[in-house]
Symmetry: C2
Subunit: 373 residues, 2 copies
């Protein structure tokens, strides 16, 4: 994984066209406007385009061709099944524009584009995947902050012109995100393990518990924080995930098989009463999880603080108020649970640049705060 | 699952002995003192007993026999492998005392106790499992609040005297927790699905990712909130979990097999490109997860509020300060993530009795708050 060098790569991108103006498309539009670009957009659903325009993110156009005609860069943010067609159409309608997309899988889309586009146009196609989003959907819930500090993968194909990829990478940086370059295949393999497999595991666990609950109506009475953590993803959008998993099926099937093998190994250790083996497996996983907790690199430039918290009304308020008064934005907050519930520690994610000040201000206010990572 | 009727069942418990004075033992001692009991304790590690005594939770005794001699109730809170011996020793040394324990599995312990104790003593043994804890350990991190509002399973055996079980249940209520009665076997089956299986899945997923990372050093750069949710449990104590899983091996092996079967079904749907099948599986799991989110019954008497949150410094502080000023204690707080990160909504858990006031005070202060459950 390499960052693109900071060398200049052609003129900066001034005119942006968004194709597909839902939450992510409108959020990118808002971030692009914030960075000084002129933004237009089109959506197959005219109502969605109008709602996007109403946020002030972009001017709505009546057709894809109208939207992309004058663009320096087209960003395709449609649902996965529609991406390739929109990319091909954009390459054709805007012969000078660079084209990227926001699909959360890459190899399958790249194949579709390669078989539909003129080979001479492919140099201008730089596949992408901004790893941001929101639990909401629709343009009215968009915000420029959705792309702040996120990892934004660029997955150039062989035909992609390096200078084109550099221009897009520079533009992503101006939007406030972090461009990271991977091949489409490598991207798909990595997200299979860290995004798609967790989703499959969460959904399978919840589906199993729901079936068991039919025979044991009080099953979920005993479901503490751990079960809730593991099944939170199971509330995700079924249609979206069906599209993602099928589009990345080879990689996800391989990841599921590898996971099933791990589960099988641990199952045998348990069935055989191999206490040392189980403990070794758990120790290795624990060490890896602590390394992960100490390395919150999913978004560059953040730090994690650990703060003790008293069990009384207002305890959390004192912590957050202290940071608010110090103009520190809390990126994420987590009350840390043991496997069986309970509390007493809060993990706060803040911008790395604010971490030292945050610890200082918390300690001055009498809180037990340390920087974990 | 039935609650024990409120009928009086013998004199209230005044003298409590804690055997094993770590975090859970000392927390139970503190809650018992708060409820007016006289508490003594013993730990195989004299230093642990002294540290527990230093918190003011109990008076340390020099031996198990000394500790339990005058008790109305003995609560055994040792590690799982030591529970049966401590229960048998307590039944023998305190011929008038009731004896319970805090082991997170039951059937295996019950078998060991039944084979070691005098049959005539078994009527006084009421196996238990308080579903509380903390991510910390050791008596200095104990607090009476660890048991506040938790589900506390009582798993009487056939020999247990019903009146004895009722006395213990009344005492648990006085401590501020919620007694729930299950057979040992049913308890173990339910926790296998909602506690042990999630732990096994989390550990297996983290172990797999750690191995993959060795070949793909940047794998975890793409690990967003979902992966972190799924692997949080993997940081749990390896020795403790080796003991739990081996002690409940039949149930956990069955649960792993059922989970593997679910995974396998979803794998086939993906491999075959069965989009409708995948979507149906996801929809069923989503519906179940939303029911779970709407039913936070793991701790009786809590409510979950959904509150919108602006993306700026101090936004969270305004919410928590508003509740703190209204004397509402925040039991849990979660910034809600989409499968790929992002934010904008906070889920707050508060006491059900405070939910209406909390919503009112938040709305009055201009927040967009609704009660989810």
């Amino acid at each position: 994984m390499t960052s693109i060098p900071a060398a200049e790569a052609g003129p900066p991108i001034q005119r942006v066209a968004i194709v597909g103006t839902g939450l992510i498309g409108t959020s990118i539009a808002l971030a692009a406007r914030r960075a000084g670009a002129r933004v237009v957009g089109w959506d197959a659903d005219r109502g969605v385009a109008d709602r996007s325009a109403a946020t002030g993110a972009l001017e709505a156009r009546a057709s894809l061709e109208d939207a992309v005609r004058d663009a320096d860069l087209v960003v395709v943010c449609t649902p996965i099944p529609d991406i390739a067609e929109a990319v091909v159409g954009s390459l054709r309608a805007a012969p000078a524009a660079l084209v990227t997309d926001a699909g959360s899988i890459k190899a399958h889309i790249v194949e579709e584009v390669a078989s539909g586009a003129e080979p001479a146009d492919l140099g201008r196609y730089i596949p992408g995947h901004p790893l941001g989003g929101s639990e909401r959907s629709g343009p009215e819930h968009a915000a420029a902050s959705v792309v702040d500090d996120i990892v934004w993968v660029l997955a150039p194909i062989e035909a992609s012109e390096p200078a084109a990829a550099e221009r897009v990478a520079r533009w992503i940086e101006r939007l406030g995100a972090r461009p990271v370059v991977l091949t489409p295949e490598r991207h798909d393999r990595l997200v299979a393990y860290v995004s798609h497999l967790p989703q499959v595991a969460s959904t399978s666990l919840m589906a199993l518990a729901a079936t068991e609950e039919a025979g044991e109506p009080d099953l979920l009475l005993l479901a503490a924080g751990g079960f809730r953590d593991l099944t939170r993803l199971a509330a995700s959008n079924p249609r979206l995930w069906s599209e993602i998993l099928l589009a990345n099926r080879d990689q996800i099937v391989e990841a599921i098989d590898a996971f099933a093998e791990r589960l099988g190994t641990l199952r045998e250790q348990i069935a055989e009463g191999d206490a040392d083996g189980v403990e070794r497996t758990f120790s290795a996983a624990k060490a890896a999880r602590l390394r992960l907790a100490a390395k919150p690199t999913v978004r560059a430039g953040v730090a994690v603080l650990q703060v003790g918290i008293a069990d009384e009304p207002g305890a959390l308020a004192r912590i957050t108020a202290t940071l608010g008064a110090g103009e520190v934005n809390i990126e994420d907050l987590q009350i840390v649970h043991s496997p069986e519930g309970g509390r007493g520690t809060v993990h706060l994610t803040v911008a790395a640049s604010a971490a030292e000040a945050a610890v200082e201000v918390l300690r001055t206010a009498g809180h037990d705060a340390i920087r974990l990572a």
